[in-house]
């Protein structure tokens, strides 16, 4: 029943109670929500859907009244048509009309009556008015405002949190990691709180923690989203955010650089990287997508996200119609749209027709080599230089050998042995076609053309000491298109997938190994080497050189040294299909032990020229042919080639950025938000209800306007979000919406004070955070008394510190720190720690692949884990991490059994438990101190007697179990999922404490920031 009571009590919180009858109701808090919810839909700012010409969102509209005489008569509810209508019994007359499915409660009707009676005053919605700093006595503004309200409600601050608790809270809030044992020690021994605050604000871990918060807003991810969801590089932007937060970049500059860094005069590399903020949008490269439609969706997202992040308003409605509740028109929307409408298209139909996706063509920026890459590059350059010098030396030394080789090669040419065609004794085609042997010793295929065929050719020859075979494919007038293929007259190609030779001896066939396949011509990607590589898919083809003879030569690995003639069997496998088979074929043999006969025809031609007539290129060819026959040089060349490839693979990384088109696009209002239905043209401009921006043209103007001192929203929206990060609730509970439908601020003066302080401190985020965490409000205990639960269950008044389950990244980082595994390595490409197998394989295509990192990268902070939208890191998803497909202002905070399973069983957390057990055992040698040591590590305090007893019992029972079941030890401690290698040698103790550590990591208090 607790729940029901809590909720019921919420509804009648004393401080929410209405003023006594007769007082004028507060327009913004009490009246506007009623009108907005029930009336504005038909009687609001949206002109198109306005009924009867009546608008109730302005005093003028309500009193002048369109088609109605007197909708609202100030001071006279009895004469006001509005009051008559809301009480009407006639369904035709009743407002809101029954089909609107909205009804006013009696209380609401009374409120409206009293409001009119008291003069029907309209007030500007608070958020559209610039914040003014209220004066506060003393130097504790936060506490003054909070306390003032508490006292009104008869409440007071809770007592201060314990020192350990406070330091843990502060550390988790500011850097997202728990304090170390040393930190706890120092602080509990009279450490200075302010010094701790300064230390944490200055820590490089600060940026990593607050970047998580910002990157949710920026919907940062490492993939495109949609169908294939391929990865794309944006991590330099993520690193930019971390660095900007660490350096406490003023929030106005932080804003300008992300929205328009590219347009700043002489913008530097970092300012361009910052514009990655709006390149994080999803991008649909699905085949068949409309590139322009995709671009429009991206611009919509940029407009909506900008409005949510800086202005805290939901503009999305005005995409299709004037906003129903807030003073934003379609014209406002598309005027804002115009600022973002000038970046290039980001997808285009595929350049390669076989591709199933569109090309992703949005602008990239080249990054400089990272220091690590630079070191590697220098090293490679040096090795390449060394090898090049070595090669030159070898070349020089071999000059005389080169001359000698030329002479001998030339000499052998004159007595060059000749190819001799072998006599065909049998021929068979698996295609069932016919054949006849021609006078020139070739076989001509006739009759039906088979799809595929294997020819088996048996031959005999008198030649001795055979060193090579030659296969000729010849044209013939009987072949379609003269051949040499049989398939069709236009493209008489053939594909010889495999050429096999065997020696026939005494009725047996002994396969002959062939090498050095060379052809006079080979089709691209169909080199002749493919005919002897044993692979079914590669082979030799000759398109487009149809209608002429071609030849391929093959060298025997072992010459056949025989005294008399030999018989051979050849097999020609041609499996391409569509009749791509040879039409006329001849096989010859050669005996050429010197090897000169195997010189390629090109080299032979050069050799035959006299030395003076060879041009430089020819000499070079000759030299390289000679050098290639030197094994030492060949090895050297291969090594060089490998290094050069490695060097060229060391490409600079890239990141996605905004680039403005030289010629801006025209922007139109789009009917119903449809880009195929443009209406009137609009020019860039900011919403009319907000402070005016004159003569603006581009994103830079817009960005500067957002952080102008008279902008009523930007600073408030920012400080409210930071407050919510620290207190669980915003001062305005609807962090994402400050519009008229939002919840009114619980502490309006505090909100404005903080907003003004932010602006006047030079947009100093760390200063504002410090101001908040230095307050008594922040430092209270989070203990929940029945009185507080009754009076303020949502903790809207801050009479206690909040306690809430940490977000996904902090849970991971916290456990990594406690276990001692955390790697503080910063920046760079996204990481892939453990995740269950196969999750990415299922998501689309074969790429990208999840490759679990088995090094320190697996223990880096959650912020660095690759964010793939279709399949974000599952254990973080289970703790409410969004898929980052759109801007997330506030993550939900659920408490589910799936979370329990994750914390208990996710092998990543299980490995942390093992490391924690090892840490406890190696760092705390005295068994009776271990429980307290473990509590110190995980929670910064010692165990209470009750806790001590529970843990000691667990240690006892687990110890007993493992002593009795030592055969089970390896199954637990040697899981293949572990990469961590524990140092503690006593396996029974290790397994026992592994269970304890697993339990500790699952404690509510460990998962909670309290």
């Amino acid at each position: 029943m607790l729940i029901r009571r809590v909720i019921a009590s919420l509804l009648i919180l004393p401080w929410m109670a209405l003023q006594a009858e007769g007082d004028a109701p507060d327009f913004n808090r009490e009246i506007r929500p009623i009108l907005a919810e029930n009336c504005f839909h038909c009687h609001g700012p949206d002109e198109k859907s306005r009924e009867g010409g009546l608008r109730l969102d302005t005093f003028k509209g309500a009193t002048e009244g369109g088609e109605f005489a007197d909708p609202v008569v100030p001071g006279k509810p009895d004469e006001s048509e509005l009051i008559a209508r809301i009480y009407s019994k006639d369904p035709e007359e009743l407002m809101p009309p029954p089909d609107a499915k909205r009804t006013l409660t009696e209380k609401e009707k009374k409120l409206l009556e009293r409001w009119i009676a008291s003069g029907a005053k309209y007030e500007e919605h608070w958020a559209w008015v610039s914040p003014v700093r209220a004066s506060v006595p003393g130097n504790k503004p936060v506490d003054t405002f909070i306390l003032r309200r508490l006292e009104q409600e008869g409440l007071k601050f809770s007592k201060p949190a314990t020192s350990g608790n406070l330091l843990r809270r502060l550390s988790l809030d500011l850097i997202g990691l728990p304090p170390s044992p040393d930190d706890f020690e120092r602080f509990s021994n009279g450490g200075d709180y302010e010094a701790e605050v300064d230390r944490l604000l200055a820590s490089p871990r600060f940026g990593e923690r607050w970047a998580r918060h910002w990157l949710d807003l920026a919907r940062y991810a490492d993939s495109n989203g949609f169908q294939a969801d391929q990865l794309r590089p944006s991590w330099a932007y993520r690193d930019w955010v971390i660095d900007a937060l660490n350096s406490n970049m003023p929030y106005d500059q932080f804003t300008i650089e992300q929205l328009a860094g590219d347009l700043l005069p002489k913008s530097d590399l970092r300012q361009k990287i910052a514009t990655g903020f709006h390149r994080t949008v999803t991008c649909n490269v699905e085949a068949g997508v409309s590139p322009e439609g995709n671009r429009m969706n991206q611009v919509f997202d940029r407009v909506n996200t900008t409005a949510t992040v800086w202005l805290g308003v939901t503009l999305e409605c005005a995409q299709c119609h004037d906003h129903k509740f807030d003073p934003f028109t379609m014209k406002d929307y598309y005027s804002l749209f115009a600022y973002f409408n000038n970046t290039p298209i980001e997808v285009q139909p595929p350049s390669n027709k076989n591709d199933v996706s569109h090309d992703f063509v949005g602008p990239y920026l080249d990054l400089p080599l990272s220091p690590e890459q630079q070191r590697k590059a220098d090293q490679l350059d040096e090795m390449i230089a060394d090898l090049t010098r070595e090669r030159e030396k070898l070349n020089e030394g071999s000059e005389s050998e080169f001359v000698a080789w030329q002479e001998s090669a030339l000499a052998s040419l004159t007595s060059q042995p000749k190819w001799q065609a072998m006599k065909v004794t049998a021929f068979q085609s698996s295609g069932g076609d016919e054949h006849r042997v021609l006078k020139n010793g070739s076989v001509l295929l006739t009759g039906k053309v088979p799809d595929t065929a294997t020819y088996t050719v048996e031959v005999e020859t008198e030649l001795r000491d055979i060193t090579g075979f030659r296969l000729e494919t010849l044209p013939h007038p009987d072949l379609p298109g003269k051949g040499p293929g049989r398939g069709d007259a236009v493209r008489p190609n053939f594909v010889l997938h495999e050429f096999r030779a065997a020696l026939k001896e005494g009725g047996k066939e002994r396969p002959i190994a062939l090498q050095k396949a060379e052809a006079d011509f080979s089709q691209k990607n169909w080199g002749v080497a493919g005919a002897i590589d044993g692979k079914a898919k590669t082979g030799w083809a000759i398109s487009p050189q149809f209608g002429r003879p071609h030849q391929a030569t093959f060298e025997l690995v072992e010459p056949i040294l025989n005294a008399s003639g030999s018989k051979f069997v050849f097999q020609l496998l041609q499996n391409f299909g569509k009749g791509r088979v040879i039409g006329n074929v001849r096989i010859s043999a050669i005996s050429d032990p010197s090897g000169a006969g195997s010189l390629p025809p090109g080299i032979v031609a050069i050799l035959k020229k006299s030395e003076g007539k060879r041009n430089a290129k020819q000499v070079e060819n000759l030299r390289s042919h000679f050098l290639n026959s030197d094994p030492k040089l060949v090895r050297l060349e291969a090594q060089l080639a490998r290094l050069k490839k490695e060097r060229s693979d060391l490409k600079v990384d890239q990141t996605l950025v905004m680039v403005e088109l030289e010629k801006p696009r025209k922007t139109h209002i789009l009917k119903r938000g449809n880009f195929l239905a443009p209406d009137v043209e609009v020019t860039p401009g900011t919403p009319t209800r907000l402070p005016k921006l004159e003569n603006s043209s581009n994103r830079l103007d817009l960005a500067k306007w957002l952080v102008r001192r008279d902008n009523p929203l930007t600073a408030r929206v920012a400080v409210n979000r930071w407050w919510a990060e620290l207190f669980g609730n915003g001062i305005v509970a609807t962090l994402e919406d400050f519009g008229t439908q939002s919840e009114p601020p619980t502490h309006p003066e505090l909100l404005d004070w903080l907003a003004v302080e932010l602006m006047e401190s030079g947009w100093d985020m760390k200063h504002v955070l410090k101001t908040i965490v230095m307050s008594q409000t922040y430092g209270q205990s989070s203990r929940l008394t029945p009185e507080l639960l009754e009076k303020d269950p949502r903790n809207l008044l801050f009479a206690r510190a909040p306690r809430f389950r940490m977000d996904a990244e902090r849970l991971r980082d916290n456990a990594l720190t406690i276990s001692g595994l955390l790697s503080t390595k910063m920046h760079g490409k996204p990481i892939m720690p453990y995740q269950p197998n196969g999750l990415w394989r299922q998501t689309g295509r074969n790429e990208p692949k999840w490759v679990e990192q088995k090094d320190e990268n697996r223990w880096r902070r959650g912020i660095y884990i690759v964010y793939r939208r279709a399949a974000p890191y599952p254990s973080m998803v289970n703790f409410d991490a969004p898929d980052r497909s759109s801007c997330t202002v506030q993550r939900p905070r659920t408490n589910t059994p799936i979370q329990a399973l994750t914390m208990l069983n996710d092998p990543a957390y299980v490995e942390m438990a093992l490391a924690l057990a090892d840490r406890i055992l190696t760092e705390s040698k005295a068994p009776n101190e271990r429980v307290n040591y473990a509590f110190g590590l995980t929670l910064g305090r010692s165990a209470t007697p009750r806790e001590m007893k529970i843990i000691e019992e667990l240690v006892r029972s687990r110890g007993e179990y493992y002593r009795g079941n030592q055969n089970k030890l390896n199954a637990v401690l040697k899981s293949p999922k572990f990469f961590y290698n524990p140092k503690h040698e006593n396996k029974i103790e290790l397994a026992t404490w592994f269970q304890v550590a697993n339990a500790l990591l699952n404690l509510d208090e460990v998962m909670t920031r309290n």
Binding site: L10, E108, V289, D883, T894, S975
Partner: protein, 479 residues
């Protein structure tokens, strides 16, 4: 009162989300009840908008979009005019994903294998490619005139399943879970079963958008852990696990006594439920215990990952009180070779779906279980794959088509053996009774006892709903 722990999200977050005054809170506004009556109980426990006809849904989404023209919507005229150039307006006015020059018409082949048969007493026409479904035609209620606004897969999937073509909105299963909760203490209210790759819309197709994540579809997998992290760490038995979970419970109880935060009590419950799930989920997923007759009926093989197995699992899930089971089956995007590929896919799903209908009927579950067959769009009556000389290629396929396509429902208060709506003679546009995606979704919610206009959630300053500001219940399909 023992609220379903799956629905008991963090109360603080709940209150935060549902608003300041409960007058605008989701459940209360649903109910049009006084704010004081509101609790975090789902609609189902509080009373629905009207009496539900369906208590649970098995929603089959054929990913890629099957050629409805060759399965359900036979067009003799189209068959007759196969090979003729399509009318100009089919090409000029249509946004086509792949076809780039005016295509030819493509009818169903005049071949007995592809012939349509009038089935059952209702005489509903179904292709011979689906012989088993032909046998249960009298249970099926067709809509032949569903139409959508998106013609690319991912946006169309999101539009069909979340009512919005871009990311960020809750899926229909999440809305149902939000409205109805789960009837089973040990299982989530919304379970997803997938064969083939995950669809293009990714997790968003069954995500909870801005609704509490507790309502997102939980994928039960056929390989590895059925629910991620369900298995204990290597070498740790279920019994040993109990000891650790007990220690966690006792320690959390100490914290609860000290701090008094009800959130800790919830966490203690969730750990208990997690422990129970470690038994209940594998038991659920293990179909070995089903009798031989059932395996023969569905064509299931224990241990396999198949669409048939998922159909049987769907029955086991709804039997155990899961509200919304969604099956995704990939591989229906037949741009080429549609007459080779469609029969293969049809064969995979025909027997198990027919078995599911019969099985539910035998168990008396069909009357209050709604089965849905849907896809993100249909396929064109024009051929994709026209040769240079204007002839249709032998391996032609069909492109994406958003103007009209056929879907069907069975059970759960739909009119059995009924056909609603009619396309024109070429199957391109609608001749009678159009049904928009929003209408279809409104109808599904209606069958569940929910008024789609009143199932809302406040976010970013306004009330959101599955059907945006559109949608009319299709009365013509209600029994």
């Amino acid at each position: 009162m023992n609220p379903n722990p799956f629905l008991t999200q963090n109360r603080r977050a709940f209150l935060q989300k549902t608003g300041f005054g409960f007058g605008s809170a989701a459940f209360a506004s649903l109910m049009n009840q006084d704010a004081a009556a509101a609790t975090d109980q789902p609609l189902a426990k509080l009373g629905l908008h009207h009496a539900p006809k369906a208590k649970r849904v098995i929603y089959i989404h054929l990913v890629g979009a099957p050629s409805h023209l060759d399965l359900f919507d036979f067009k003799p005229e189209l068959q007759k005019r196969t090979g003729q150039l399509c009318p100009d307006e089919f090409f000029d006015l249509n946004q086509l994903a792949f076809i780039r020059k005016q295509p030819n018409l493509l009818g169903t082949p005049k071949d007995e294998r592809f012939a349509f048969k009038k089935c059952g007493k209702s005489g509903t026409e179904i292709s011979n490619l689906l012989p088993n479904l032909q046998g249960v035609a009298d249970e099926m209620c067709f809509i032949k005139t569903l139409h959508t606004e998106q013609f690319n897969h991912a946006p169309a999937q999101m539009f069909a399943l979340t009512g919005f073509e871009r990311f960020g909105r809750p899926s229909i299963g999440s809305w149902a879970s939000y409205g109805l909760g789960s009837e089973n203490q040990n299982l989530p209210g919304f379970v997803v079963l997938i064969t083939g790759q995950v669809l293009g819309a990714g997790n968003s197709a069954f995500g909870s958008g801005f609704l509490p994540t507790i309502h997102q579809g939980v994928e039960f997998r056929s390989k590895g852990d059925p629910v991620l992290y369900l298995s204990n760490p290597d070498g740790v038995s279920h019994g040993e696990r109990r000891v650790v979970v007990d220690a966690v419970k006792d320690l959390n109880q100490v914290a609860l006594d000290d701090v008094g935060d009800p959130e800790i009590a919830t966490r203690i419950n969730q750990y208990e439920m997690a422990y129970r799930m470690q038994t209940s989920v594998p038991e659920l997923m293990d179909i070995k215990s089903e009798p031989k007759r059932i395996h023969e009926m569905y064509g299931t093989k224990p241990g396999q990952s198949s669409f048939a197995n998922n159909c049987l699992l769907a029955r086991r899930l709804v039997e155990r009180g899961v509200r919304f089971v969604q099956l995704f089956d990939q591989g229906w995007d037949h741009h080429g070779g549609v007459f080779d590929n469609l029969p293969k896919k049809a064969r995979q799903v025909d027997q198990p779906i027919a078995a599911l209908i019969k099985d539910l009927r035998e168990r008396g579950l069909l009357e209050d279980t709604l089965i849905v067959w849907n896809a993100e769009f249909g396929r064109t009556p024009m051929a994709q794959g026209t040769s240079g000389d204007g002839s249709t290629q032998s391996k032609a396929g069909r492109d994406h088509h958003k103007e009209a396509y056929s879907v069907w429902m069975a059970g759960g208060g739909t009119k059995p053996g009924h056909v609603f709506g009619e396309t024109d003679e070429l199957g391109y546009g609608i001749a009678k009774d159009p049904v928009h995606v929003h209408d279809f979704n409104a109808t599904i919610l209606h069958l569940l006892g929910i008024d789609h206009e009143r199932l809302t959630f406040r976010y970013q300053g306004r009330q959101f709903r599955l059907t945006d500001v559109h949608g009319k219940v299709v009365k013509g399909v209600l029994a």
